[in-house]
């Protein structure tokens, strides 16, 4: 209950600070939309040169992308801690966080909450449902429940990986180049993983499981393929929980090591 109240307070604060500079607020929303739009352009360009990609049709790949956008939008809303190391470790804001009773990760996340990113999720859902009709897929009520479960699982996968990456700052205060580059890697979960070789497929499925934020759960709704990825789809919430737990453990351990930035 306390956390819900805090959450609400943080959201109100966010609204006050952001709406002071309305122009920037709209530019950010526009840039988010552009970003998503460009990824779509890439898919559309690719399919001008090939009818299928690893046995997947254009509508299917776009469908996967639509799904991918939903958890990504939610994740970006609650986990926009790209500058964690610089702001909280180097500048010492972590000290302030640690003097308060609420869980430190919760505070850090909510201080950086970014609701406009949710628009991406809405756009993704629209793309997905348009493709759903286009592909003539059957629709059951259960699908909505499963979709929700998959989305939550995928968000947890992201959350786990990025919490772990942010926690690295507790062990080494040098800015690592990992976060921006990880950002590049996560995009490979958008494409049918069967086009990659075994090693990359393995990494994307089990080590940095970005296949679980896009192609694997989305494949559950599509026609079965030769390699039948959809068997793995139901593992999405499990993988999400495992990775989020690992990320949180690393984070908590890091916080214990944290010595403060003061003299």
């Amino acid at each position: 209950m306390l956390y819900a109240q805090l959450f609400w307070e943080y959201i109100k604060n966010y609204a006050k600070t952001r709406l002071t500079y309305r122009m920037d607020f709209w530019i950010e929303i526009l840039s988010d939309m552009m970003f998503q739009f460009m990824n779509l352009i890439f898919i559309l360009i690719v399919f001008r040169h090939t009818p299928t990609l690893g046995g997947w049709s254009e509508a299917e790949v776009v469908f996967v992308y639509g799904f991918f956008m939903i958890p990504y939008g939610i994740f970006s809303t609650f986990f926009s801690i790209w500058n964690f190391s610089e702001r909280y470790i180097v500048k010492g804001e972590m000290d302030r966080i640690l003097t308060r009773p609420a869980h430190n990760l919760f505070q850090v996340l909510l201080e950086n909450v970014d609701p406009p990113s949710l628009i991406g999720s809405v756009v993704g859902a629209i793309i997905m449902f348009v493709c759903w009709g286009e592909l003539g897929l059957p629709f059951h009520i259960m699908d909505i429940v499963l979709l929700a479960v998959f989305v939550i699982g995928a968000v947890l996968v992201y959350a786990g990986i990025y919490t772990a990456l942010s926690a690295i700052s507790f062990y080494s205060d040098a800015p690592t180049g990992i976060v921006p580059l990880m950002y590049n890697i996560q995009n490979y979960g958008r494409y049918p993983v069967n086009i990659y070789n075994k090693m990359i497929r393995f990494v994307l499925t089990w080590l940095l499981p970005f296949a679980f934020v896009g192609v694997i759960p989305a494949s559950y709704f599509l026609e079965k393929k030769a390699d039948d990825l959809s068997q793995l789809a139901l593992l999405t919430p499990v993988v999400g929980l495992v990775f989020f737990t690992l990320g949180l453990l690393l984070w908590n351990h890091g916080v214990k090591r944290y010595r403060g930035a003061g003299s």
Binding site: I27, L30, D32, T50, P175, Y196, N197, I200
Partner: protein
């Protein structure tokens, strides 16, 4: 005076050197990036021998060299400038007897040198061992490519500086910086060579500076651009470098006026 500017290059290079360990992870992840695109392109080619004038072998080389070039020319000048503006240190720097923007460019170049020696070159060697990359054998091509690569850096840095300066006019240019990064990656041809774009978009791209960052040098390097056109392509890079000086100059002038107003 020149000596001071050279010192800026040297100091940034040494600063970067202190963080060199972080770039080893960068090499690994760039290699993974290149790998993912390599497989993506292989799947796109499928049974086809040639697409948009690229063979599979040329495409592989294009992907590898484009990403590794990005490892060199990429920098965060936009963010550095925006931070200087936001915390006000730009005002202090303006009082000093050097050109603020030129110093930024020099710092960017120091970072670029570091990235070239400790990121791009070792990265390229590793990538060549993993993937079937075919490097050109003609030393002339290498020379031309290196010069073009320098202009890639210059043009990309100019775009970064321009984006960073917008922090003077919008309270927070985070959104713009993000938009710029996406645009540069897509339109410069790192992700897709411009030859693959649909006709209307390709012709729009011909009139924008982005292609001069990756697509033009990489096309020369992979041998897709015929020898007779190389001079023209290089000329295009130079033209863009000169043209981009104009908006930077105007923005800088407007920004200084604005800073004065804000200082009230």
């Amino acid at each position: 005076m020149m000596g001071a500017y050279l010192d800026f290059i040297r100091i940034r290079f040494i600063t970067m050197l202190a963080y060199r360990v972080n770039y080893y992870s960068g090499i690994v992840i760039y290699a993974i990036n290149i790998g993912a695109y390599y497989f993506l392109w292989k799947a796109i080619f499928g049974e086809q021998q040639e697409l948009a004038g690229f063979t599979v072998a040329q495409m592989t080389t294009y992907v590898a060299v484009s990403w590794m070039a990005r490892a060199f020319y990429f920098n965060n000048l936009d963010r550095e400038i925006a931070n200087d503006i936001r915390d006000g240190s730009v005002a202090t720097q303006m009082t000093r007897p050097y050109s603020y923007l030129l110093v930024k460019m020099m710092q960017g170049f120091g970072e670029g040198l570091f990235r070239l020696l400790l990121f791009m070159i070792p990265g390229m060697i590793i990538v060549c061992l993993i993937f079937p990359v075919t490097l050109p054998t003609d030393p002339m091509t290498w020379m031309i490519y290196l010069v073009m690569l320098l202009f890639s850096f210059l043009i990309n840095s100019q775009i970064n500086i321009l984006t960073g300066l917008f922090a003077f006019f919008v309270e927070n240019n985070e959104g713009m910086m993000r938009m710029k990064r996406v645009m540069v990656d897509l339109f410069s041809g790192v992700v897709v060579p411009i030859a693959f774009f649909p006709g209307w978009l390709a012709s729009v791209m011909k009139w924008l500076p982005f292609q001069a960052i990756t697509y033009l040098p990489s096309s020369v390097f992979t041998g897709r651009t015929p020898g007779s056109e190389i001079a023209g392509v290089f000329g295009l890079q130079v033209v863009w470098f000169v043209v981009l000086l104009v908006p930077i100059w105007f923005t800088w002038r407007a920004a200084r006026k604005r800073l004065f107003v804000q200082g009230g």
